[in-house]
Symmetry: C2
Subunit: 466 residues, 2 copies
């Protein structure tokens, strides 16, 4: 099965095909460079061509054509993911969905949209229509697409209230095109959603999305400080446990993250300050301030609706989730990160244990998250990178302690997830992508069912570096 790239490109030449080589390179990349491990392995990866369909019919045409010519297809939104999700490991076609950005229906509590719209633009449309917004979004809200978020993300700003994308109710319906001789269009709901959500486009292309909405409020964004790190963590947890106080973000940054990496916050904090970033609904501010007054030692230093900072910090959520790492990286290129699950009810002792063992080599960055109705934490810890061996050792220390790692230094679904085969995704890939052309190299279960996870997976058909 030798891809005939030239034939496929020629057959699709009436579509929007990228002509600039620099743009092809740019559109073959995502934020994989957050990871020095992935940077060392994927930096050379590049598509043979990039096509931007304008409709579902054109998506079908791309898939039918590439199927006929055995050309791999890697689909992308804005490419803000950082597990290499959108990188065409075997070259071939990158299908960019930015033209498919129409909002199709807005109703109380839900929206139907094409996948290529930016999260920011989708929120603007639903807010203008009826004062509604997405329940959750990634910190790359301003630049990322809803389709990329659903195909490659897990949760984000809003997950402190609504849980994760995978939780029942956070996606209502996905419309999916298969990559077969004659592509089919399928509609998934309920249990079927797990086949294709967070599957990196390895087994179907999402062309329409229905998700629930929440009311849009003028969220009060704040920074607080606490000298005692565990107090900061308990404060964030306690706030999230206030059933009557509506929040959208509760983030904790261990000292000296804010002083060292948050340029516009740094003048207002000391190196010893742990910082808490929050978004609280305006109608909940009285309740919040009452809670705050019950926690001496925690001080508010900034609120976006009333402050005297000469230079505002911008959106507080753009300090949280993956933006924390981004800001740290810009200051210190040796910084990378981990994604950790600190599960209820052991979350606080686990955090304390990992911090005691690893700070300051690993600095705690915590995001409040709900899972099965309980407040717990996701850790997006900042790691001072030295060697891959040490990084693996740090991962193992977390796992041995009982803190699950979603390893962002791996480019496969399994290694970035729970290190186990997802039968629903695999069996749907067998049906929807019989030639294995969709985003190849990302599903170990497809390529190497007997893989043992004792070392990093290396996709054998990876494009050779020149």
């Amino acid at each position: 099965m030798q891809p005939n790239v030239a034939a496929a490109k020629e057959a699709l030449s009436h579509l929007d095909i990228e002509q600039s080589q620099a743009a092809i390179r740019a559109k073959s990349r995502d934020f994989f460079w957050y990871s020095p491990v992935l940077k060392a392995r994927l930096d050379h990866v590049e598509a043979d061509f990039v096509v931007s369909p304008r409709s579902e019919a054109e998506v079908i045409e791309v898939l039918r054509t590439c199927y006929a010519h055995d050309v791999p297809v890697t689909t992308r939104g804005a490419g803000t993911g950082n597990y290499g999700q959108a990188m065409p490991l075997a070259g071939g076609c990158v299908m960019h969905l930015h033209h498919m950005n129409a909002v199709q229906e807005i109703a109380p509590g839900r929206v139907v949209t094409q996948p290529g719209i930016l999260l920011k633009d989708l929120d603007a449309a639903t807010k203008a229509h009826s004062g509604q917004e997405l329940r959750m979004f990634s910190s790359t809200w301003a630049t990322a697409t809803i389709g990329g978020f659903i195909a490659g993300g897990s949760g984000g700003v809003g997950s402190c209230t609504w849980g994760s994308l995978r939780d029942l109710g956070n996606i209502i319906r996905l419309r999916v095109v298969t990559m077969e001789e004659e592509p089919r269009v399928l509609e998934f709901r309920g249990e079927e959603l797990a086949r294709v959500s967070h599957a990196y486009g390895t087994n179907g292309i999402i062309t329409e999305i229905e998700v629930p909405l929440a009311p849009a409020y003028d969220w009060v964004e704040m920074f607080l400080t606490a000298r005692d790190f565990m107090q900061a963590a308990r404060f964030a947890e306690g706030l999230a446990n206030l059933d009557g106080v509506l929040i959208k973000l509760a983030t904790v940054f261990e000292a000296p993250i804010a002083k060292d990496y948050f340029q516009r916050v740094a003048p207002h904090v000391e190196a010893e300050d742990n910082v808490i970033g929050l978004m609280v609904a305006p109608q909940s501010m009285d309740g919040f301030l009452t809670f705050l007054s019950r926690n001496p030692g925690v001080e508010m230093i900034y609120r976006n609706d009333d402050h005297d900072w000469a230079r505002g910090p911008g959106a507080v959520f753009e300090y949280g989730w993956n933006h924390t790492t981004l800001r740290a990286l810009k200051v210190d290129p040796s910084i990378t990160y981990l994604q950790v699950r600190y599960g209820f009810p052991e979350h606080l002792p686990l955090i304390e244990k990992m911090r005691d063992a690893l700070s300051p080599e690993v600095l705690q960055h915590l995001e409040v998250l709900r899972e099965n109705g309980k407040v717990m934490f996701a850790g997006l810890s900042l790691v001072k990178f030295t060697t891959e061996e040490r990084l693996d050792e740090i991962v193992k220390m977390h796992e041995d302690a009982g803190a699950m790692i979603f390893n962002p230094h791996r480019y496969t679904l399994e290694e970035g997830g729970r290190q186990s085969v997802d039968d629903r995704q695999l069996s749907f890939k067998r049906e929807a992508d019989p030639k294995g052309l969709l985003n190849p190299g990302k599903m170990i279960a497809w390529d190497d069912p007997s893989f043992g996870f004792d070392e990093m997976y290396a996709y054998p058909k990876m494009q050779a570096a020149e």
Copy 2:
């Protein structure tokens, strides 16, 4: 200090004073008769006169005048409470706030209103204005007032998501008039709210209320059945723990409550059926149905948007909370109830234990409730009443097992609450009601600070039965 009722009534004769003796009797009563214990003690209680102020200025005039003449003032909304909250134990003046029903401001996430508006009418106004509704309301939504709910209620429909009225954030601001020689008007927020919320009007009269709003949805109301009671309880808990599925009600009725007491549901269930009553947001129905399909043994028998019942059951929430008891009472006058707290994480074992010990003398009626971020249950158990001694014994069995009782067979704040003095309410009463004229007999701490709670409190100045 002898009240001069005639002088006070004469001085207020230019206000709306009730003339009919039958109406005075009706407006001196609430739903105290849910309790045979209270029925035996309060049935004769009656005000000397009833006045209905039309404004805060008139409220002030009533309080100033009654203060001058040493006349007790018991304030009421619709009188749907069932702890005898609104009953004038010492006679005197009943102040009825039904004229004060103006909605003053509606904004995203909050409403400012006078206290005398019906919950139903307030919801209609906020829904028409901007698709919003109250976070929580009592099952007496159609007949009760927001002021009565806040002064005498604790939570209700919506508490499965938002917690209780006492939780931070569920009341934003209360405006309160004191009963002094010259009444003062105070504004309470934050910690101050606890002085007067759920204080039965014993230490101030609420004349304006600001509460948060939630989005109004066309809630899908359902009944489900399960043959296994504990499965029904676990189902309700599991549903409430789904962070991505938005609900407003999750109620569990032990068999044969539905068969015996729910007239319009009875034809569709067997005596062995435990019944679950739910309100789920329409955008969450897909997630809900997926969850339901994971729970074989739980069957949906009714949904309000798609059913073939010849005679619909009406609003499902009018089967829950205190309406369960009301429906049972109408069929069997010997039924009364208890209010139980089954706290996380022991809620399910506690429920099972009490059921094993007491069913069918006590039938479990559970309401999902959030407390400190955790899903747990309030029990509004149906009790087949025999004697006061046996009722006290049943109360004690619960308390001994670790299930707190808010005893609805008592008319004082303390006995209906946590059996302890609320210093915030007491000290504010000293300041705001120096003569002790507001709703006398309801705050033991005021009348008998040394009371030991080893028997039922008997207010010594209670009106004598004729």
